[in-house]
């Protein structure tokens, strides 16, 4: 679109013509752009956020594991877990904002995401306090919440919706 606009600018010396061309071009592309921007339905948003959350939670498990085994420095582990906590909390907010046909199923997903976010936060606190037992506990919570999220995800997208 930008290239086409530049081309039009180069080939039209008259300012009025240029503005007219730009408006026509914008009119032609606007519906396409709107279509592109609105094409992400609420179920797609939820699906994307659940996938992102699942992947982020798995990364949080890996980081905690690496810290527990002494393979990751505490500063990195803490900063990574903080970032993952924010991503998980944001995914929860995004899922909350979609309007599902079955609010109960959305709630199950939101709850699982909330638990993931809390567990990642607890892992971060444990790493900062250098408490291995608590970090191990938070890691187990992350795994349990992940499995809950997987169940909620299957139900959310089950055919009888």
């Amino acid at each position: 679109m930008v290239a086409a606009f530049i081309f039009m600018i180069s080939s039209n010396c008259n300012e009025r013509k240029m503005v007219g061309s730009a408006i026509r071009l914008t009119r032609a592309f606007l519906p396409l752009l709107l279509l592109a921007l609105t094409s992400c339905s609420s179920s797609e948003t939820a699906e994307q956020q659940i996938k992102l959350a699942s992947s982020t939670a798995q990364a949080a498990v890996m980081v905690t594991d690496a810290w527990l085994s002494g393979a990751a420095p505490p500063r990195y582990a803490s900063s990574a877990l903080q970032s993952f906590t924010e991503t998980l909390a944001d995914a929860g907010r995004q899922v909350q904002s979609v309007s599902p046909s079955d609010p109960a199923r959305r709630e199950a997903v939101s709850t699982a995401l909330g638990r993931l976010s809390s567990a990642a936060k607890r892992a971060q606190t444990a790493v900062e306090a250098e408490q291995h037992a608590q970090a191990g506990q938070a890691q187990r919570e992350l795994r349990t919440a992940q499995s809950d999220l997987a169940t909620a995800y299957r139900q959310y997208f089950s055919p009888d919706r």
Binding site: M62, G70, A71
Partner: protein, 406 residues
């Protein structure tokens, strides 16, 4: 014997300088989400860059012109301005991403946010450009860049199913996330066929005072160096697939996930190796891209240029890299996510390809410049293919950015 040594050094330099933030990020994302399925994009990108680098080097050795110089002289300044502007804009984004890559490495090592590192990194890049020589920048940093071979070692240690890797080297259709798959393919191609790479290479040929006796060496360096370099990118992709993807980390949207590629293999040293690899690869690339900005403008306007000259002898050239480095640090200092910027800039790089590759077809077939060393059938077929690929990429990049890049 001297020539052999030069070739070896050139190959090592190409290998050490191949990996940068774009190739690491795109290969890691592709491997984590699609396993070995996108190996073909790395292979295709590597083959294309081999041809372009060989031609750029041959052009410099025979005509004693850089590619930018040739475009301006052959087509005139009015035609040169479009590839110049496109290359300057895309290089600006890439330079910013590279500075971001070093800043991320610094954050991982110290815990201090990456945005605080942007300006200090820019200062060190500038200082080395101001004080250093071309040899130091090209060979010194690339030698250090050999640390990135740790990805190849890691890939071998993971014992991948090589048959499956070979299957992935053949273009194939996505089994899921179609838009994301094609967006990743475009980004990988953008990271591999970076115009700054072959433009810089041709300027390097002039800086190193290449002549016709270097044609064979150029061929060997382009072929072997870029192939081994592409091998490192495949190594990153394999490691991402077998470590991140296999553990369920399929969405690499956070740079904090990247060190996890090497930690399960090398333990604490995996973390150190990742941080050092990222820092050196991106620092080296930042130096090259900043220099390339200065080469482009100086060659375009016919100014005196040369990294081995004192800044007072080429003030315009020095001013351009100074401005480029500090301006490119601004988006990172303002907190723009380097990983997102990287993926975006790699896709745009792919979209800008036609503007920089089309002139190859004319310059490398012009007797006035290359005489008997003009392109053969294979090289011309390769350029036409890359141009066609470039046009397709230019058309699909923006829709894919909307559908698959979010």
């Amino acid at each position: 014997m001297k020539k052999l040594l030069e070739i070896s050094l050139g190959v090592v330099t190409s290998v050490g300088g191949f990996l940068e933030v774009g190739s690491i990020a795109t290969a890691a994302q592709a491997g984590a989400l699609f396993g070995f399925q996108l190996v073909w994009a790395v292979v295709l990108g590597t083959i294309c860059i081999i041809f372009l680098v060989e031609m750029a080097g041959r052009f410099a050795a025979v005509s004693h012109h850089t590619i930018a110089d040739g475009i301006r002289e052959r087509f005139g300044f009015n035609a040169f301005i479009w590839p110049l502007l496109a290359a300057l804009f895309v290089n600006f984004l890439v330079l910013s991403a590279e500075i971001g890559g070093v800043a991320i490495a610094a954050e991982l090592a110290t815990g201090i946010g990456f945005q605080w590192w942007a300006l200090p990194v820019a200062f060190f890049v500038w200082l080395l450009l101001w004080k250093g020589t071309f040899g130091l920048i090209e060979k010194g940093m690339s030698m250090l860049g050999l640390v990135t071979l740790c990805f190849v070692v890691a890939a071998v240690m993971l014992h991948p199913d090589w048959k499956e890797v070979a299957t992935g080297a053949v273009p194939n259709l996505p089994q899921h996330d179609t838009a994301k798959y094609w967006f990743m393919a475009v980004s990988i191609l953008g990271a591999s066929i970076s115009p700054y790479l072959f433009m810089f290479y041709s300027s390097g040929g002039i800086e190193d005072q290449w002549d016709k006796t270097y044609i064979g060496a150029n061929r060997a360096i382009a072929g072997l160096g870029m192939s081994f370099g592409g091998g490192i990118s495949v190594g990153v992709l394999i490691v991402a697939a077998l470590v991140l993807g296999a553990h369920g980390v399929t969405q690499v949207d956070d740079y904090n996930q990247l060190p996890l590629m090497l930690i399960p293999i090398f333990g604490f040293w995996g973390f150190v190796l990742f941080v050092v690899s990222l820092a050196i690869a991106c620092f080296g690339a930042a130096l090259e891209v900043a220099l390339q900005q200065a080469y482009l403008v100086a060659q375009g306007f016919g100014w005196t240029w040369g990294e081995d000259l004192k800044p007072r002898d080429d003030p315009g050239f020095s001013l351009v890299y100074t401005l480029s480095v500090f301006l490119a640090a601004v988006p990172i200092a303002l907190g723009l996510d380097p990983l997102k910027l990287t993926i975006f800039s790699m896709a745009l790089t792919a979209a800008s390809l036609p503007l920089t590759v089309v002139p190859f077809l004319f310059l490398l077939n012009d007797d006035h410049y290359v005489g008997e060393h003009c392109n053969g059938v294979i090289s011309n077929a390769a350029v036409i293919f890359i141009i066609a690929l470039g046009f397709v990429l230019a058309l699909v990049t923006i829709p894919l950015q909307i559908f698959g890049g979010a």
